[in-house]
Symmetry: C2
Subunit: 209 residues, 2 copies
């Protein structure tokens, strides 16, 4: 399938391709050329063809790409059907919003547990999932073997919780805490989401107007 290692630039574009192709499929567009897709996504046709050919020849000369087929291929590459068991730590405003707002299932994840250190939240339900106390993480992980953890906790707690979760077999972190998580272990992946940085970038660009 692949030809060597795929660059992170390419990987970060894949979800966007997947999204646009989903939209096209919904509009019952059967096929699309790299040129048309490029115009739609504000990329170059060249880049699209280069990107897709990292994974294989999904197109056909003189025809273009079959939308449904291409979307399915990219979905497979991304792993949208993996259903990785996922837990969330921290059920404050942000945690609750993420839990109910993000469609984990369509992104290869299945949210199966939510934990918070505040006992007052225990028993509350978010996205049909009961909030458990942080003390129960060990027992829960032992039983359900989650692979991914979403961290919606204060930055002070992040380092420590992450270590604890690695011990329990967590392989990936989707980190919303105000802390740049970098795990030393090489077989752990981290995606840091810094919403504040994103806003600050916007502010910078407003200055430039």
């Amino acid at each position: 399938m692949s030809k060597g290692t795929i660059s992170v630039s390419v990987i970060k574009r894949l979800p966007r391709y997947y999204r646009f192709l989903g939209e096209l499929e919904k509009q019952r567009v059967e096929r699309i050329s790299s040129g048309k897709l490029a115009a739609l996504m504000k990329l170059t046709a060249s880049q699209i063809r280069q990107d897709l050919n990292c994974f294989g020849g999904f197109g056909q000369q003189g025809y273009g790409y079959n939308v449904a087929e291409l979307r399915a291929e990219i979905g497979k590459i991304l792993g949208v059907d993996k259903g990785y068991p996922t837990i969330m730590i921290g059920a404050g405003n942000l945690g609750k919003a993420i839990a109910s707002h993000i469609n984990f299932e369509s992104r290869g994840c299945k949210l199966i547990g939510i934990f918070d250190i505040n006992p007052k939240l225990t028993g509350e339900t978010v996205a049909d999932i009961p909030i458990r106390h942080t003390d129960d993480i060990e027992a829960f992980c032992g039983e359900h073997k989650p692979v991914i953890a979403v961290l919606c906790i204060p930055k002070e707690a992040t380092r420590q919780i992450a270590e604890r979760l690695v011990e329990l077999g967590i392989k990936a972190f989707w980190n919303y805490s105000h802390y740049d998580l970098t795990i030393e272990h090489s077989d752990i992946v981290v995606e840091n989401v810094h919403l504040g940085d994103s806003l600050l970038t916007l502010t910078y660009n407003v200055n430039a107007l």
Copy 2:
């Protein structure tokens, strides 16, 4: 101050520099060399010096950089004190979480209004700001002249609301909707936040383990 146009790669690193320097300042670190900062941030010393010299010579040979001073300079470049009047459209789970979770003030923005199309939410308060009905946007903008809009609305509504806000003088969008907002007007800036894409990237990286 600047030397020509700054590349987006550099700009996107600025908030992270600002964050790390804030942390160092809090720990009462007075000065730091590009080498030490690079080790901390997992960058190269070369890159840090290159980045900073896009804006001017903030360091001193043989000494390094004064932490507080450098942070202040970067803060000024980013515009952390601008206090751009900002409104939010959409007060669902995500909107409420963003409004209460993000410190707008420390990022050059001042959240002054929240709007939702659901009349049941009107009057509710989030982050000390009353939720208004979407119908009141025009009157509010006429009076308060907001510059930035945070969009936490469904993708179907985004295009239209954005156009309406541009008419009302909004210059920048922080867009959380499931829609790639691209404004044709050249004097409008957009920061699309696609949390779903971020999760999907994580899923891809988990597959690779």
